[in-house]
Symmetry: C2
Subunit: 155 residues, 2 copies
């Protein structure tokens, strides 16, 4: 299988997802030339706003490999990852992203990907969701505990 | 209970999380003055790079309310949400964010929040994880199916 075969699989997942009542998004994770996990958007079906295709595929891949990192893996997504999924890809340490539809395509059919991309870089005070910093001093205690812990598992 | 009480709860969760082997992060979701869900970072314990405190709390709140939106809810996080969690907060429609530690505090103890904030706004070609657009035309089919579907559940 090559890049087009993996993407074809992600696109098929996106079409099946629409047919079964989910959002029009599919994703496939590949390691060493083998598909190790797939996902499709099931936000409304699973009552989970984080259940995008890429996040679902990442979770499945990590369950299968028993690791919280996906080094040496590629992700094929039928649409450019939204900032949530892109950040999850960073946290997972995936090495390359292939995508088909763009964030503008997603915007044109009513999804907020592009809007959220615009919001993330703003200063918190400029964003549409207000945020407020409180009790930073108290919260530092947990960070000091983390620093002082000898047997911590870093990630 | 007031804002400080909810944040105190999130901070306590972050400290308990370190003690039990997780990352130093806790979150609480409040609706109509009641705590409806809590979360702590369990990335390494659950083998799930998306299991940040905020994402975990959002998932739990949605399971409890049976909805994929959390309108009228506030989130209290012991640390400024990373871009993944911030985006999840947008997708969930949470109305206000309270945070304690900042992204710089997280950076100073070894977490990539600040780095990912810097990556998200970049053009894909400038990011540390390469990405490539392929087969956009083929992928459009799923978007057309979505547009044409009369009984779709929008989100």
């Amino acid at each position: 299988m090559n890049e087009k075969d993996y993407m074809k699989m992600a696109i098929e997942l996106s079409k099946k997802s629409v047919a079964s009542g989910g959002g029009p998004f599919g994703a496939v994770i590949v390691k060493d030339g083998k598909v190790i996990a797939t996902g499709h958007n099931c936000v409304t079906q699973h009552h989970d706003p984080t259940a995008h295709a890429e996040v679902s595929a990442i979770r499945e891949a990590c369950q299968k490999t028993g690791d919280f990192k996906l080094e040496g893996c590629q992700i094929y997504s039928s649409c450019e990852p939204c900032p949530m999924c892109l950040s999850a890809i960073y946290w997972a340490g995936i090495e390359k992203i292939y995508f088909a539809n763009t964030r503008e395509d997603a915007k044109n059919i009513g999804f907020d990907d592009s809007f959220i991309y615009d919001q993330i870089p703003l200063q918190p005070s400029k964003r549409s969701i207000p945020s407020e910093e409180i009790m930073r001093n108290e919260a530092q205690q947990a960070f000091r505990m983390w620093e002082d812990k000898d047997d911590k598992v870093e990630y």
